[in-house]
Assembly symmetry: C2
Homo-oligomer: 573 residues x 2
């Protein structure tokens, strides 16, 4: 493509309102333009990247036997009423009435439409399992759209849905899907983790989020520095082996700690370390009072409390509620002498020796507290948040934290939708059974931001070969120089015939403008046709490394073949 024939409006200045690097660069390099808040046009370069990502996703989906279809954006409200989400989804669901005043939703996701389709068409176990996917424009009325394509109101998703006769069959498809996602994000050259995520009531290991590591991410990931273990911080299991300090148990003793209530205050006042204290927090668990104990240097992870007690709602009790139950301020509560409230504790608590905790009296704490001697715990379990430096749960390496951008999600839905919408099949014995489902999403347009954010440098975007809008950028330095013009155009035509995807800068612009634009675009290889063309030499530059080579024109193709196959071969190329 000749730049004189296409549309790549670049910006010199930093766009207002674009807070993050990728958003700024995608605007400056002319890949996207905003039409309304959270709503963008993909200009020709952006559209090319989008389409290449789509094709990679399509290939990998087909590779695992998923079949493509296309469902509509407009979804009748009746379907959402059947699943119950018409009421529960909230204002993020874009709604409208048609000319006959019938209500519709603009689909943010398609569980309802596909469940109704499969319910109507599949009656027998013989037609299952089945995995269907689509690549489609979705709508979600985000309260605060931001970061360009990262959190938009109109965006492109790949969404897949699988239907099964058994949990084992779902597990199998789930594993294939995890592998396909891994392939996709690897082909995009991303530094990512498949992260164990919270699936709510379905169970701990039934959902993974694929997170691209990035400081602009909104979620914290705990991952191993020595393996591929990764989890959302609230899902990371703590496997630390604690040991008791070798110290004689002393007698329990009450001390006046005055106004000192927080762990920090008490620790400073008593001149001890936080590891020697026991933190007590009252929770409402499905309406019941539960006292949760963790070591003073740890934080209670309420998702773990919820999962342990198989509860629906876990909420920290208010100070007033706590005072009502314990007869003292929250800073002075503790487990000693408590028998009217269920007590559970994190494993670490068991190993505290001669510790400190509240004494359930104003201005009073106990010292020399020893668990199982001075109070009874109904159950010890893993109830705290993991910390950096903790051992990785898979036994390999230590935990480090990072921020992540969610780019994919695999989820075992179970019978959430098939039950509500009556998607049943007849099994081998002619009995009616509810279908078991999985759903699997990838944020296609969001991936543009993720790749840009992770790979761009201070000069502009940097694309891997796999999704670069073009492979090669040929620049004619001085279009008024006849040799440069002729040779530049010839190189362009020759490379195009070799099926390279080539962009030719044939604009009558200053060299500085051209080089700056080229850096912004981030095309992997640049060929500069300048003065040296008179000696038969062009310059070849690799965008990512900045490495340059001078190549005789007659060896150009050979060198380029070599270089591009190297770039394609390397991760994310």
């Amino acid at each position: 493509m000749k730049q004189s024939n296409t549309f790549i409006p670049t910006l010199r200045e930093l766009p207002a309102d674009a807070e993050i690097k990728s958003h700024q660069l995608l605007l400056r390099a002319g890949f996207i333009r905003q039409v309304a808040s959270g709503i963008y046009s993909y200009l020709p370069l952006g559209k090319k990247v989008l389409q290449k990502i789509e094709n990679i996703v399509r290939e990998e989906m087909e590779q695992i036997g998923a079949v493509e279809l296309l469902m509509p954006a407009l979804q009748p409200a009746e379907l959402w009423q059947e699943s119950g989400r018409w009421f529960s989804y909230g204002p993020d669901l874009m709604r409208m009435n048609d000319r006959h005043d019938r209500p519709f939703a603009l689909g943010p996701t398609h569980e309802e439409v596909i469940t109704s389709l499969i319910r109507d068409e599949i009656k027998s176990y013989k037609r299952l399992p089945l995995t269907l996917f689509q690549i489609q424009t979705k709508f979600r009325d985000e309260k605060r759209p931001r970061y360009g394509l990262l959190r938009g109101r109109e965006f492109v998703m790949k969404d897949a849905y699988s239907f099964h006769t058994s949990k084992e069959s779902l597990d199998e498809t789930y594993e294939k899907m995890v592998q396909a996602y891994t392939n996709i994000f690897t082909r995009l050259g991303l530094n990512f983790r498949a992260v164990i995520a919270d699936s709510g009531s379905i169970g701990g290991k039934d959902t993974h989020e694929f997170m691209v590591l990035s400081e602009i991410g909104e979620d914290t990931i705990a991952y191993s520095d020595a393996s591929d273990y990764a989890a959302n911080i609230e899902m990371a299991e703590v496997v630390t082996q604690y040991e008791k300090r070798d110290e004689t148990l002393k007698d329990l003793q009450k001390v006046n700690t005055g106004e000192h209530k927080t762990i920090e205050e008490v620790v400073n006042f008593l001149q001890i370390s936080p590891e020697d204290t026991i933190k007590s927090l009252l929770f409402n668990v499905d309406g019941e009072n539960v006292l949760v104990l963790v070591r003073g240097d740890h934080e209670v992870n309420d998702v773990k409390v919820k999962n342990l007690l198989n509860a629906s709602i876990v909420e920290l009790a208010s100070p007033e509620q706590t005072e009502e139950v314990f007869g003292c301020k929250i800073g002075n509560i503790g487990p000693v002498g408590v028998n009217h409230v269920k007590i559970i504790a994190d494993h670490a608590v068991k190993y505290v020796v001669n510790g400190v905790c509240g004494a359930n009296e104003a201005e009073q704490h106990y010292v020399n507290v020893n668990p199982d001697r001075d109070f009874t715990v109904e159950q010890y379990a893993d109830l705290r948040f993991i910390k950096e430096g903790d051992p990785s749960p898979d036994g390999k390496g230590k935990i480090v934290f990072a921020k992540g951008i969610e780019v994919g999600h695999v989820f075992k839905l179970g019978t959430r939708y098939s039950e509500a919408m009556n998607a049943v099949f007849l099994d081998e014995n002619g009995r009616s059974q509810t279908m078991i489902m999985g759903c699997y999403g990838i944020g296609i347009s969001r991936l543009i931001t993720a790749v840009a954010e992770q790979m761009a440098d201070e000069k502009g975007l940097v694309w891997p070969m796999s999704i670069a809008p073009y492979h090669v950028h040929v620049i004619i330095v001085n279009t008024k120089d006849e040799t440069q013009w002729k040779q530049g155009n010839m190189i362009y035509e020759t490379l195009k015939k070799q099926r390279y995807e080539v962009l030719l800068d044939d604009r009558h612009e200053r060299a500085g403008v051209k080089f700056a634009d080229s850096d912004l675009f981030g095309i992997p290889v640049r060929i500069v046709v300048g003065k040296k063309i008179n000696e038969g030499i062009v310059e070849l530059k690799i965008r990512k490394t900045g490495e340059t080579l001078e190549i005789p024109v007659d060896q150009l193709q050979e060198e380029l073949d070599k270089l591009l196959s190297q770039l394609k071969g390397s991760k994310g190329q």
Copy 2:
């Protein structure tokens, strides 16, 4: 793809509510399913056809230098207010408010969005001309959605827009676009015509509709039986050479025709032929009274009246208005003695000899009327509808009529949007000029219906190779027969490796079901692996012609190569 792994729900019965062949078959063959009125899911086979059409359109657009982008479906109302269409578009425009109560339209077309984009980004003649296109889901709230994908409320369009500094530049792009459209519809194997259409005030030759000939079409096309001339019936020029009957002019004479008023009644009463009468109709043309004369066997074409008089609104006067102007009922009005109303006449009127017309008196007609002797015509022009049998305006052949489905439209917009939205550029002399625009649409999803309607037979769909969901359908007749099963699977795997697109019917169904389904799908070539496989023979069947061949397995690939390249080579394959 194995049928056991994909999703092709076929129907035996005729679906209710599907009036036309293509709609019935697309439902029965499992290509589409309705989600709501005018809103469909494309199931796997339908999605494949859709995507192949998209790819052909994309290739031909790129071939003429059009550049792809993707604009959003959600369009802020402000843009439509700028162009004025927020008010004029009516209830077909789907409208909604976002969570902040800001109004949006769901785009049925993108003139506003692209004009605003180009206005903001292009300032200089140096960046023009430019042609951009997108392939995208569009929305239009049709009052009566029908015929399946033909007139839907959510549909896929290719829309292109071009921007120019001069009319000559627009003409050039327009011609290229006409050629690209011709290529596209030819590759789809369609019997179509590029039809001269009414462009309203812009002028007669500035818009073409591409019409697929089909009896379900909503428009009448007049086309030549001997050339590629075609026009919407109201746009077809009449070039008939009339001759005067060789007869002495007789004296004008008034006769009492009693209650006989219509041409038919008067002709029967006076025992003459319609060619000998002059039909007089009063029109309001931009508020002025104009009497339009055509021969009794002809019909007034008001588009031609409008174009001749360069008018905005042309309306037939009501009987009451006519009576007020002429002092008699409409059946008795005529041009003789009229000097208070402008008179224009179709060319044929000039050649009437001793004719008949109304006498502007109750129950009276004139006989022996001779134009230019008995009344004066301000202007003779082509003012009638063309008729079957008239000579083609290009001088080649005779006109025949057909019904057509509009599948494409090319249109010279001129400055309609650029003026309203202030899209200007600086010319070579630094002067600000308004951009000149063209727009060009193709109904991608509608083309599925057009192809299906034109090619299907009584057994099912018939696809050309170019957009068939698969090239080859391999059927294992009896899946319980080990040889058939093994050989069928082997043939499937072998052909897949040769990059054929193959569908394998590996279902445990009766042979009759499989053959009926296969006929419904319309895949160009069928390979039947049945009993004769024991002798190393398979049956090869061409869907379109029904022709069958018995082929030894070891010659299968060779035969198939030959056959498919023949099918690809023929028109629309």
